[in-house]
Each structure stands twice: as C-alpha cells, then as structure tokens.
Symmetry: C2
Subunit: 134 residues, 2 copies
DNA sequence: TTGACACTTGAACCGCGGTTCAAGTCAAGT
DNA sequence: ACTTGACTTGAACCGCGGTTCAAGTGTCAA
C-alpha cells in the first residue's frame, strides 16, 4: 500500500493534485491508516491513466466520464468527440503557424502594425467582418 | 469617429473586451465626447490586429510587446519564440491525436482502464517514471 | 417630455486545474 | 523526550482573458 506521497511521485504529480482529484471524484483512496490515505497499485495505474487522458486534452469532467464508463461505447464516444476537436485545433494551429512564419518575412525596420503582410490581413478581416455579424 | 459599440461590432468583439484592452494598455480611445470613447479607423485596425495575434496564440502581454515594438526585430523575436512553442504544441497534439485514434481500436465491451492498448501505455509510463524524478 | 437605448465606472465574478496556507496529527528514529 | 518529516483538513488564492453587475449619464427621435 502506497502513501499519497509515493503514489504522487511515481505518477509524476503533486500530492495536492491527488487530493484534488479525489475531491473531483476521479480517484479514491483504497484505505486509511491513522487518517492517512493509502493506495493500491491499481490506483497508481488509474492516476497515470488520468494523466494520459489529460495529455490528449480531455477535461477532468470528460475524464470522469471515461473512468465511469462501464461499456466501451461510452468512453469511445468521448474519445471520438475529442478527436474531432483535436483535429480542428491542429488545423487552426497549423494555419496560425504558417501565418506567423509569413509575418517573419516582413522586411525593413518598422513596427508590426505597418508591416505590409499584416496590413493586408487586417484589411481582409475587416472586409469580411460583416459576413459574421455579432 | 466610431463609438465603442461600433468599433467592437466591426472587430467582432464585445464592448467589455475593448475596455478591458484599454485597461491592459493595448488600445486607447482617440477622443471622448461627453465621457464616451470615440475611435478612429486606425484604432479599429489595431483592434483587429490584436485579434490576429490572439489567433496565433500570443498572450496579451506578448501582444503588448508587439504593439509597443518600434523596430521590426523587436516584434519578430516575439513571433519567433511563439513559432517555436507553436511547433512543439502541434507535434504534441498530433501525438495525442494518433494515440486517441489508436485507443478507438480497442475491441470488446469493457471499461477504458481494462483496454489492452491503454494498459500497455500505462505500463510504459510507469516504467519510465523513475527516469524523470520529481 | 418621455422613453428607449448606448454609453460610463469600479468591483466582483467566471471556468479551469490546480497550489498554497495555517494549524494540526501521527509514526519512526535517536 | 524530542525531532524530523510526511501526512491531515478546509479555505483561500493563482493566471488567463475576459464578462457581468449596479447605478448612473448622455443621446436621439417622436
């Protein structure tokens, strides 16, 4: 049985994080010794698993859903939804990346607002602004 | 001269956002009429420009740096730094994406923690955990 | 003149994922 | 007996990028 300090260290998180997850219902201590939490290896694996899902960008609420799923279809729905968001995000970042790289091509010594490349993009956005009225 | 409502609408942000940017020193009203802010087209362009930089993932502090730069080298340094972070982020998301897609290949009707693919990854992470002690 | 509506301010609040703090308990070693 | 160090709790706080609120002022048309 691992203490909270051990389980946190082996999973690579802070002890405060483990307690926070318990508050959020993601993890429960398997026992108490004089009030102190003790964990099975099983819980350590669960903690690592939470970290994996976080790396994939799932929110703690989503993770709770995955952990609480009794059937594969339940958590796969969450994963698929995230996959879609992830794809959109990657595309967006890719565009931002290419745009920034283009901006670096600006020559001459002037502030950013006077850069020709940026100026054109500003005009483009202003022109299409009325297409998406708030 | 545009009112705050107009400038916000044309830039596609809320009026509260425009005031917030003013507090942060990103934007200044060009005039006041009976206490109300008025803006030149120049400021509208500046507001749009802020949105562009936000799309590229720059923080408001970074954006203040770009706007305050008098020489091209100053803002390019910020852009280059963000470009590096962006590349790392894209790579990370790509890996997460591929991982999630792999997880969807799990067969049979069981909870996520019992999935063989996930279980292997958990073991891998636990095994290498000691390499990065906290 | 009345009503509708946009504007003004500072302060408090939001979600997210935790961290930090104070004040205390408990077990082990010397 | 005393120290050391890890643990306990609830509550408050963090950064970020704003939003919302209350209470008031200004503008414009009928």
């Amino acid at each position: 049985m691992l203490t909270i300090g051990e389980v946190a260290r082996r999973a690579g998180v802070a002890t405060s994080t483990v307690r926070f997850y318990e508050r959020r219902g993601l993890l429960t201590a398997d026992a108490r010794r004089s009030g102190q939490r003790r964990y099975h290896d099983e819980s350590l694996r669960r903690l690592v698993f939470i970290g994996m899902l976080q790396d994939a960008g799932l929110s703690l609420d989503d993770i709770a859903g995955v952990l609480g799923a009794t059937h594969v279809a339940d958590w796969k729905a969450i994963a698929r939804r995230r996959l879609g968001v992830l794809d959109a995000e990657i595309t967006r970042l890719q565009r931002a990346r290419d745009y920034l790289e283009g901006a670096l091509l600006c020559r001459y010594d002037h502030p950013a607002t006077e850069c020709r490349i940026m100026g054109q993009e500003i005009d483009r956005r202003l022109a299409t602004a009325d297409v998406h009225p708030t």
